[in-house]
Symmetry: D3
Subunit: 334 residues, 6 copies
C-alpha cells in the first residue's frame, strides 16, 4: 500500500439534473471535486493510502467536504478550517454540440486565503511515497502558490516522487504573477510531467504541434531543461461532440516513445474530472507497474471516468485492469 | 431589439421521468409548450422583445403559464383568462426504435373557446416587427381560426412581416372546415413560408417529392400563387431512430436555392419543439442577417434544441452563432 | 368475501411535491382518485371483492388508470374506453391556515360523455352484495346521471344493498337539472344514507343544525320520507386548521342514536379522500359487524386515511381494528 | 396599482431536502431570496407593480435570478451585471428544538461590489409610490451603503414614502463603520419604521423591554427624534419550538396603540422570510387600507408565509384577506 | 386470448438512479423482476391471460409484489405467502465499457424455501395453453427444483405446450445436484427450446461454436435426443459496449433454418430482462403467428425492451408489429 | 478524545419517501443503521474516536456500509467481509395513529454468519475506554453471541468500561437459547446498565411497574445481583401518537435517584434510533460529565434525534449542550 499526498482546493459542484439549465428546475445535485482531490479519491479507490491537504469553511459545508473525502477513503486529518467560504462552481451539462458551462465562485474561497504557515508539511509528508500537484493551485492566489512551493521543497528534500500536472487555465492567475515563471519554478522540483505539447509550449515558449513527432521533440526539450523529469505522459482526445469522445495516451520516458490503443466513449456520462482520472491512473500505474502498463492503466482509468457521475473516478483497480485486458463489451457482472 | 408577436395555444406537457411509461412511476415533470409560444420563448432568449397572445384557465394553472412565459422573457400582458381549463398533453418518451407517444387533452381548452373579440389586436401589434402563426391554431376551433384571421388582417394592414408555418395535423380540424381552404386563405396574408413539399402539396393538391429539384418547383408554384410570399424555408430530417437524427435546411427565395450543411444529433435529449426552434431561429435570422445566414442560424438553433429539455429552445444567440462558426466539439465553457 | 360494485369518475390528481405551489417547481406527483373509486380501493384493501365501473380515455392515461385500480385489487373488466380525455385535477396542498386549492379539468371528460347504454349492468351487478353511489356522479352530466339511474334500478331489482353519499357540490350541476330533484329520486332507491343535517337540508329544504338533537330529527324526517333508508350515518369534523383535525361519527338507525369517540389527527398528511375512507369503512363495517362497530370502524378508517398519501385509503382491516381497540400511540410494528 | 421599488442583495438559498443535513444526501433544492427582494415578490403577488434593484453575476446564475424575479412579476430591467459571483447561503432545516442553520457565502458577492454610480436612481424611482430598505444592505459593504444612501436621498426628494426595516445583524458590519451611526442616518430619511424595542434600543442606546408599555415609550422616543417617522410597526413572536410559533403585530402611530389577534402556526413549513412577508403585508396594507387593517393584513401575511416553501411569500391579497376575516380552518378550495 | 402460466422467483431490483454507484447517493428506485415473471408480464401486455406462481414474503414487500404483478395484468391468485424474506438484488448500472454490477440477496428467499406440495398445480394449469420455465428455478434450491418438476409433469399430462429457457448460471446450483443432470431431465419434458450452442453444449457436453452451421448441428443433435422438442430458438448479440448492442434471432425447427434481420440498439436504456422479452415475444409469436414471424416478433420485442426501464417489457403487441413492419425511425405518435 | 468500540450488525434501511407505502411509489431512500453502529456514529459526532466491528457482504453493498461509517467518522478497519448478504429492513413510515412498519431480511445475513474467531479483539480493544453492546446481537445467532461473549471477556480483562443495553426483542432469539440466560451472563460482565423495569423484569423474572419507586427497587435488586453494575439509566416515553412524543430520563446510581425534565417532541421527524441516541448521549456524558449532566445530555440527545432523518444521531456535542441549557425555541443559527 503506497501513500500519496495531494494538495489543492476542494470545490463543491452544484448542478441541475440531467441536461437542464439552472433556470429550468430548482432541483440540484452536488458533488465535491477539485483536480487534486479527485486524484486522491481515485488513488484511494485503487487501494492506496491517500491524504489530501486543503482549507475548507468552518461550517457544515466544510464539514460535508471532510465527510465526503472520508467516505471515499481519503485522510482529512490535516485539513484546515477557515472562516472563508468553500469555493464552488455551478454546472449546466451540455450534450452533443451544446457545451457544458461552468460558473465559478472561488476567488474568495477558504483555499485562496490559506495560510502557508498553517500547514504542517513535515507531518503531512511523513512516510509519503508520492506528492501530486497541478497548475490550478499556484494560479489561485499568492497564498496558495506559497503553500504549494513550501510543500514541494520539503517533498523534494524527503526524496518523494513528485508529479506535476501544470494545466494552464487562463481565467485564473489574477494576483499579479506570470503563470510561466511560477510553473517553470515548480516543474523544476518535479519528477513526472503530466502534459504534452500544449503545456510544454506554455512553459518553454515553443510552438510544438500535437503530432507524435512534435510531442517527442517537446518532451526531449523539456527533459533537457529539467533533467529531474523522468518521463512526459500525455493524453490526446478527439471530441466528436460533447457526448462522444475518443482518447489515447502517449509517453516519452527519455528514451522510448509509447502510445496506447484508442478507447472510444460513445455515450459520455460525465466529462468532468477525466483528466484527473488519467493522472490518478498514471500515478497508480507508475507506483505499481512498468511505464507502458502504467500508461495503459491511465488511459483506461480516464475512459472509465467518462461513465461515472461526479468529479472523481470511483472505479477499482480491478475494473481498470479488466479494460486493459480488452474487455470492452460491458457485460453485466453478477 | 425587434418586437415579435405570436398567437396560439399554450399546452402543459406532463411526462414521467426519463424513458419511463406513465404507469411505471407516479413522479412527473412538467413544462409548458405550444408551437407559437415556443417560438416566442426562443426569440426572447435571442434578445428580442416578444409578446404571446393566448387564453389560459383562470386558476393556478393559468397563473403558472404566465409565470413560465415571464420567467423566459415573454410579455404576458394581453393573455386572456378563461373559466375553461388549460389544454395539456401527456408524453411518454421513447428511445431508439421506440416512438415517443403523446396523449392530448385539448379539445375543450381555454384557447379553443377563445373569444375572437376579446383580443385587442391593435394594441397587441403596436410597434410590432414580426407576426408568426402556425397551422395548429386554425385547426383547433372556429373561434381560434377567427381570432387568428383577425390578427393576420390587422398585421397585414400594419405592414408587419408575417411568417406562416402551415403545419397540417390530421388529428385536429374537427370543427367542420377544410384545412386546405382555411390554410390557403391564411397563407395569402403571409410573407415567409416555413415548410416544404409536404406542406405545399397539402395546400396546392400537388405531389412533389422531397428532392431538392421538387422543392424548388413546389416553391416556385407557391410563390406564383401567393406572390406575397418572399421565401420558402424548409428543413429536412433523417431519423436513424428516435435517439439519433441528422438535419439540414434549404430555401428558395424566388431566385436562388441554398442548402446548409448537415448537423448530426447523435444523442437526442428532447425531440419536441425542434421545429419551433427552427422557426424561431429563422425569424431571428431574417430580422438580423441575410437569407443564407438566417437559414444556417435556423438549422443550428434546431440542432441545439435537441439537447435542451422541455418544449422551448433556451439557447442564446451566441450559442447558435458558435455552432454555425463550426464549433461542434462541445468543449466545456469555463 | 363480499362483492361490492361502485360507479363513478376516476380523476387523475396532479400535484407539486409537499406544500409547493405549482409555479414553484416543475416536479409533480400523481395519484388516481374519484370518490367512488376511492371507496372501491379501500374496500379491496379490507379484503372485499370490488369492481369499479367507469369510462377512461383510450390512451396510455386510461391504461394507467386500469393498472392503478388493478394494482390495488379492483376489478377493471367493465371499464369503458373513450376517445375523450380522462378528467383530472391539479392540487396545491396547503398547511395550517392556508387552504389546499384544486383546479379541475373534468367537464369534457371520458366519464361525462359516458354512454348509459354501454354499461352491462346485468353483468356488472351479478352476485353483487353492495352498490355504492355518490352525488358527484349525477352532478357531472346528463349521461352520467342516466347511467347511474339505470344501475340503481337494476341493483334495486336484484335486492342489492345500496349506499348513497349524496354529497352536494355547488360547482357542478351545470347541465340544466336541479340537484335536489335528482338526488331525491336517487336516494329513494337507496338503503343506507351517508350524510347528516347538511345533506338532508339540501334534499328536504330544511334547516337543521349540526347538533345531535337536530341530526336525530333530520334523520327521522328523512326515513319518514324514504322508508327504504335503514340508517343515517354522519361524520363531524372540527378543523383547528388544515393540519390538525378532530373527527367523530354518529348514526341514527331509526331507533337508536350512537356516537363514537373523537379521534384527533394532530398532523394531517393528506386530507383528500377522508370522506370516502369513512364511506368505505362504513360499508365494510355494515357488511361484517353490527351498526355501532361499523360506525367505529368507519371513523377509525377515516382517521387513518389522514395519514396516507394519495386519494384512497390503503390501510388494512387489521390496522383499523387495531385503532378501535384503542391503540393510538402509533408504536412501531416490527 | 401602486409602484414599489426595493433595493438589496439577492441570495441563492441552497438546501438539502426536508430536514436532512447537507452531508446526508447530495440532492439539493434552491430558491432565491434576500430580504428586500422577498418584499418585492410578495408585493407583486398582491398585485402591485414592483421593481427590484440589485447586482447579479454575469453568468447563468445571474440569469436565473432575473428569470426568477420575472416569473414572480418583479421588474428586473435595472439589475446590474457583475463579474463577481452571486451571494448565496446554504441551509439545513431544523425541527422542534433543533435550530435551522445557515452558512453564508456572500462577502465577495456581486452586490457587495456594486458601484453606487451604476444605478440610475432617477429612472428607477420614476412614478414610484413606495421605497423599501432594510438594515442588511448598509451592513454588507461601503458600496452597498453608499448606493442605498443615494437612493434614499433621491426618493426623499421625490416625496416617495420610505419604509425602513433596520434589522441589525451582528455577523455583518465588517467594513469599519458603526451600524448605529449609519442606521440612524438612514432612518432619518424614512417614514415608516418596521421594528420594535429591539431595533429602537439598537438605534437609541436604550433598553426598552418587549412589553407593550415599553413598546409605546420606545416608539414615542423614536418619533420624537425622527418626526419624519409616521408610525412604528412591530411584530412579536412566541416560538414554542422551531415547528410551532405564535405571532402578533402591534403599532404606534404617534397617537394610538393597536394590537392584532394572535395567529398560531402549529406546523411551520418554512420559517425563512416571514419577517419580509410581514413587511410586504404592511406596505401593501398601508398603501390600500387604514393602519389597523394594514397591521392585520401584515400579521396574516406573515402567518401564511410560514406555510409557503422558499424565501418569498407567494400568497395573493385574497388569501390574506380571507384570513383576517377569520377563516382559519384551512378548508379545501375547489 | 391465450392463457400462459409461469413459475419462478420474483426478485426486487433496487438501484441508485442513472449511472450512480450505490455509495454516491441515498436515492434508490425499485422494480420487480425475475426471469419467468418478466415473461408473464410481457405476455400480459401482449393481451394474453397470464398467471404467475411463486412464493413471496408475508409482509408489505410481498404485498407490493402482488400489487406490481396485478398492475401489469398478471394473475396473482396462487402466490404463496412465506415467513421468509423476498429475494432481491442491488444493481449499479454501467455505461460504455463499464459493466453493470449485480449483488444478490436471494439464497434464503421465500421462493428458495417454497414447499413443493403447497402449489395447487391442477388448478394452476386448468385451461392453460402454455407453460414456461427457465434454468434459474431448479438452480436455486431442491425445493424449487421439486416444485418445478411436479408442475412440468402435470403440464405434460395435460398436453400443455412447454417452453424451456435452460439458462445456466454458474453462481447458483449450490444445493448439491448437477445442473446438467437436472436440466436434461426437465428439457425432456419440454417442447420449445429457447437457447443455442451455449445452452446445448452445457446439456450435451458438446462444444459447438456460435456459427450458424454449428447452431444447426447442435439443434439437430438436441432434437435427436429429445424428439419432444419441436424447435430451437436462439438469439445472438453483438455488444459494442454496454450502451450499444446489435441483436439477431435464428431458429431451427427440425427442417429449416431461419434468421432475422439485425436490429441495432444505439442507446441502451435498460439491458436487464431483454432475454426474457425475447422469450415472451417468442411464446406470443408461436401462439399466434408462424415460426418465422414469431422469431421476428421475438427479436423486435427484445430490441424494444432495451428502451424500457425496469426488468419487464411493457410494450404492446402493436408496438412490436410496428417494428417488424420496418418502422425503425421512432417517429412521435400523437 | 475518548476511544469507544461497538460491535453489532449494520442493517440497510430502505424506505419509500415520506409517509408513502411501498406499493405507492418506486422511489426509495436508504440509510444504514443497526443499534450499535448508531451509537458509534453518534459518539463520533460528539468528537470521540470510535471503531465499529461487524461483518458485511463482500460486494458493493458492503463497500457502501464502510463508506457510510467512514463518512461519519467511524473507523472501519476491522470490519469483516463475508460472502453472505448484508442484513436489511424495509420501512413504511406511519404518522399520528398509524404505526410505522418494518419488514426484516436479516436472518441469513453476513453478521449472523460471523466467525467468532475472525475478530481480532485484542487489537480492536487496544487503548479503548469504553465498549458498548446491546441485546440485539446475542439474539441474532449463536455465532454472534459467541463473538460478543469473547469481546466482553477481553474487554473485562482490560478493565474497559462496558455498557449494556439488553433490549429484549421477542421476534429474534430463534437459535435455541433462552434470552434470559444469555443476557444475564452478559450483564454480569458489564458496568453500566441502560434500561429500566421492563428490561430488569426480563432478566430477573420480576414484575416491577414503570413508577419511579419501582424503578428504584428494580435497580437495587439488579445491582445487588450484579455488583459490577455501577448505575441503571432508564428513559421513559409518552407517545401521544406516532408524531408527538414526550421523553424523560432517570437514573439510580446505587445511592441516588435523579430524573431529568421532560422534553416534548411535537413534530417527530424520525423515530428510529432514538434509543441509540440516548445510549450514545449517556456514554458520552458518563465519559465527560457527572452522572446528572450525563443523564440530561442523554435525554437531550435522544430528543434531538427525533428531528434527524435516518437511523443515527448526527448532532454535535454543542447542539446537545445548547438544549440542556434550556434553548428549546429552535431559533435559526446564522
Amino acid at each position: 500500500m503506497k501513500k500519496v499526498v495531494t494538495f489543492g482546493e476542494v470545490l463543491m459542484r452544484i448542478a441541475p439534473l440531467g441536461n437542464r439549465k439552472l433556470k429550468q428546475s430548482n432541483q440540484l445535485e452536488y458533488y465535491f471535486g477539485g483536480t487534486e482531490a479527485n486524484v486522491a479519491i481515485s488513488l484511494a479507490q485503487f487501494g492506496n493510502n491517500t491524504k489530501h491537504i486543503t482549507a475548507v469553511s468552518n461550517d457544515f459545508v466544510g464539514d460535508a467536504v471532510k465527510s465526503y473525502l472520508q467516505k471515499l477513503g481519503v485522510d482529512t486529518g490535516l485539513i484546515i478550517d477557515s472562516y472563508h467560504p468553500l469555493g464552488l462552481y455551478f454546472l449546466e451539462v451540455g450534450a452533443v454540440m451544446r457545451s457544458s458551462t461552468i460558473a465559478y465562485n472561488r476567488s474568495n474561497s477558504a483555499f485562496c486565503h490559506i495560510d502557508p504557515d498553517a500547514i504542517n508539511w513535515e507531518k503531512a509528508l511523513e512516510d509519503c511515497d508520492w506528492f501530486h500537484w497541478t497548475g490550478i493551485t499556484p494560479a489561485l492566489s499568492l497564498n496558495a502558490y506559497k503553500a504549494l512551493q513550501k510543500g514541494l521543497e520539503i517533498a523534494n528534500q524527503k526524496g518523494i516522487t513528485i508529479s506535476a500536472d501544470p494545466a494552464y487555465r487562463s481565467g485564473l492567475w489574477n494576483y499579479g504573477h506570470k503563470a510561466k515563471d511560477i510553473l517553470n519554478q515548480l516543474v523544476e522540483l518535479s519528477n513526472v510531467f503530466i502534459g504534452g505539447p500544449n503545456e510544454i509550449n506554455e512553459l518553454l515558449d515553443t510552438s510544438f504541434s500535437y503530432e507524435n513527432e512534435d510531442f517527442i521533440q517537446a518532451s526531449k526539450l523539456l527533459i533537457q531543461k529539467y533533467p529531474n523529469i523522468k518521463g512526459v505522459f500525455d493524453k490526446t482526445r478527439v471530441s466528436l461532440n460533447a457526448s462522444w469522445h475518443k482518447i489515447k495516451a502517449r509517453l516519452w520516458n527519455g528514451v522510448d516513445f509509447y502510445e496506447t490503443n484508442e478507447l472510444e466513449i460513445t455515450h459520455v456520462v460525465d466529462r468532468i474530472g477525466t483528466g484527473d482520472a488519467y493522472a490518478a491512473g498514471l500515478i497508480h500505474g507508475l507506483m505499481h507497474y512498468d511505464n507502458q502498463k502504467a500508461l495503459q492503466f491511465a488511459n483506461a482509468a480516464c475512459a472509465l471516468k467518462h461513465t461515472i457521475e461526479g468529479d472523481a473516478n470511483l472505479v477499482s483497480e480491478a475494473e481498470v485492469l479488466h479494460i486493459i485486458e480488452g474487455n470492452l463489451s460491458g457485460r453485466i457482472k453478477r
